[in-house]
């Protein structure tokens, strides 16, 4: 079947970004910290791409670049095949309408001094959507779509629980009718019961409105609830990318396997953490304390239980796994010989 191929909704090509270095006892005084390095992926319409990785892996930097809150050092972001870099001012305005973001902490997202009504009407007037009475109606519909009552319009953020505030943030993000929703740790601060309801809501949203979601989380069990495809990020690089099924059935990168092992499971018979007691100290902490080195080898080599000499010297390339072109991994150990 050969249909003239339509460009994907969002394409990210060779994206690079850096931050200025920090001082203080923990800073190395160097000028720049590379936060993203050669990241590329696509998101199709109505699809959910999950991005996993621990703090400092560059997930939030990526979200900021996609929302035009930060300028990349290199590479391109394409919406419907058109590079962001070549867009006119009007086109960038339209891009902002089509790509909306839900942030991690709902208590800092919503202005404490503005009523929910003010917060919800602003994106509509900013993007010139609807007449004033229509906007009012759309705002109420948006609230109802996230299971809140119209009376919420005239209340202030502090009068809501954190789960309700997060749903208000989602309602706000949906009002400009975006094609892509970026959810950066949108459920991680919520308790499990509220989290489950927000996840169910996002799932329904994707089905009903054909909206694409870039879902960023450190917790692969949460990502699994939504994602069609999953990318795993490590210190600024996308080290594994696969369909959700492939990633969970055949995780190829040792880092992905560590992330999977780190998710606590409620089943006492599942062999979770206490049985790992001997080797678990080898995980986590290197990432927190290690300074970002620009060494030539694999970014994971210093924490990898299986690292070979080659891993410390040569940066592995992103390659397809044998027999599945869509499952790519950046590791010298894969495929196992």
């Amino acid at each position: 079947m050969s249909v003239p191929s339509r460009p994907p909704l969002l394409e990210v090509k060779g994206l690079r970004a850096s931050y200025r270095g920090r001082g203080g006892p923990l800073g190395d005084g160097k000028s720049a910290i590379l936060a993203l390095e050669d990241v590329k992926f696509c998101v199709e319409r109505g699809q959910v791409l999950g991005l996993a990785g621990e703090s400092g892996s560059g997930k939030s930097t990526l979200a900021r670049l996609l929302c035009q809150l930060k300028t990349p050092d290199g590479g391109d972001i394409l919406l419907d095949g058109k590079p962001l870099g070549t867009m006119s001012k009007a086109e960038k305005h339209e891009y902002r309408r089509r790509v909306q973001m839900v942030f991690q902490d709902p208590s800092t997202t919503l202005s404490p001094r503005r009523s929910i009504r003010q917060t919800l009407l602003e994106p509509l007037s900013h993007f010139g959507i609807g007449s004033p009475p229509e906007r009012e109606r759309m705002a109420i519909e948006a609230l109802e779509s996230v299971d809140l009552e119209a009376s919420a319009m005239h209340r202030l953020p502090h009068q809501f629980s954190s789960g309700q505030r997060q749903r208000i943030s989602i309602a706000r993000a949906l009002l400009p009718r975006p094609d892509l929703l970026i959810a950066d740790e949108a459920v991680s601060s919520l308790d499990v019961s509220v989290q489950a309801r927000i996840l169910g809501f996002l799932n329904r949203l994707r089905q009903e409105r054909d909206i694409a979601i870039l879902f960023i989380s450190h917790d692969l069990a949460v990502i699994r609830q939504l994602a069609d495809n999953i990318g795993v990020m490590l210190r600024g690089r996308l080290v594994e990318y696969a369909s959700a099924d492939a990633l969970f059935s055949h995780p190829a990168h040792p880092y992905t396997r560590q992330l999977l092992a780190a998710v606590p499971d409620p089943d006492p018979g599942s062999g979770s953490s206490p049985h790992l007691a001997n080797n678990e100290t080898a995980l986590g902490l290197a990432a927190i304390t290690a300074h970002r080195d620009e060494s030539a080898g694999c970014r994971f080599a210093d924490r990898c239980p299986e690292a070979m000499r080659e891993c410390h010297r040569i940066r592995p390339a992103l390659r397809s796994r044998p027999g599945s072109a869509a499952h790519v991994v950046e590791c010298h150990l894969d495929p196992p010989e």
Partner: protein, 319 residues
């Protein structure tokens, strides 16, 4: 053997619009030496209030605490005793707070803050306190403990600050540690590290740990017993395996069903409705309006915590 911590019928009341509101209602618990017990429930169930009340940190207008007894080993340290917990905090009992940003003082280095506790409580001199602080920082996994020692809280990431809080608690090797959502702000790999550290403390120093969390997955990996709290009351208390295999209280079952599992893509379900504000006085079971199994008696009489099949449960119509 005397329990490391035994709490008998502790209640907390806070001033509200129509008089005092009871946010923790006659909760009793026992922690044995070297035991880790999980306390789970949604936000707003009174878990943190219970912890603060046990620590004796609710005084004056912050809340009114009543208890038949709060004992650390043989020492009565409840609100009716003369000194309460004052002499024991930071020595025999310690707490890891949920929010490390507000729990650490921004104007002192983290090393100074940890050693201050050691100098005050154990009469260590400056050098000895510093050594012990560095030791606990490196135990928890900081490879550059001296750098962390000299850092101010704002120079550390949220995850590092939380690990510093845990290092502060482990440095004093308390008999009892109350950890209130110690890993909620952490990502999964750091969480694993923090939990390993709490388990090491429990194992090596025989510390009894009360782990407060909404994430039942965390309890599964570490705790032998679990208590489920709803709206100020313990509604179920059992060995963890028993509860996981067959929760009796509908609320326990709801919490378990809400946890996303790494091994399955089956959608999780939240519990319908939300925790009713405690300002609403109700007769009957406080969970009744969210409960699919509620029968008329649930709305009329408050169930009491009773022994059933070797576990404690407060429900008229259990699963």
């Amino acid at each position: 053997m005397t329990a490391a911590l035994s709490v008998h019928e502790i209640s907390v009341s806070l001033p509200g619009p129509g008089g005092l509101i009871r946010v923790v209602d006659q909760v009793s618990l026992n922690l044995e030496r070297g035991e880790m017990v999980g306390l789970a429930g949604e936000s707003g169930c009174g878990k943190s209030m219970l912890a603060l009340a046990i620590m004796g940190l609710l005084r004056g207008d912050k809340g009114h605490v009543e208890a038949k007894s709060v004992a650390l080993g043989h020492h009565e340290a409840g609100p009716s005793s003369s000194h309460g917990m004052v002499d024991h905090r930071g020595k025999r009992i310690a707490m890891v707070f949920q929010e490390p940003t507000t729990a650490l003082d921004p104007v002192f280095t983290v090393g100074w803050q940890i050693s201050a506790v050691l100098r005050r409580r154990f009469n260590l001199d400056r050098a000895a306190a510093r050594d012990r602080t560095l030791e606990s920082l490196s135990d928890i996994g900081f490879s550059d403990a001296t750098d962390v020692y000299r850092a101010y809280p704002h120079q550390l990431s949220g995850g590092m600050r939380q690990l510093v809080m845990i290092a502060m608690a482990t440095a004093v090797r308390p008999e009892v540690l109350i950890a209130d959502e110690p890993t909620t702000a952490l990502d999964v790999t750091t969480q694993q590290q923090a939990m390993a550290q709490l388990r090491a403390l429990q194992r090596d120093a025989g510390t009894a740990v009360l782990l407060i969390t909404h994430d039942i997955g965390l309890i599964a990996g570490s705790c032998s017993r679990i208590m489920i709290m709803y709206s100020g009351q313990i509604v179920e208390s059992a060995r963890y395996e028993t509860l996981f295999q067959k929760p009796l209280h509908p609320y326990s079952a709801g919490l378990l069903a809400a946890v996303p599992r790494i091994g399955s893509a089956t959608p999780v379900n939240g519990i319908a409705g939300h925790v009713a504000p405690l300002t609403e006085q109700r007769v009957g079971c406080r969970f009744a309006e969210r409960c699919a199994r509620a029968i008329p008696v649930c709305r009329e009489t408050r169930p009491t915590l009773l022994d059933r099949e070797g576990r404690m449960i407060a429900c008229h119509h259990p699963l």
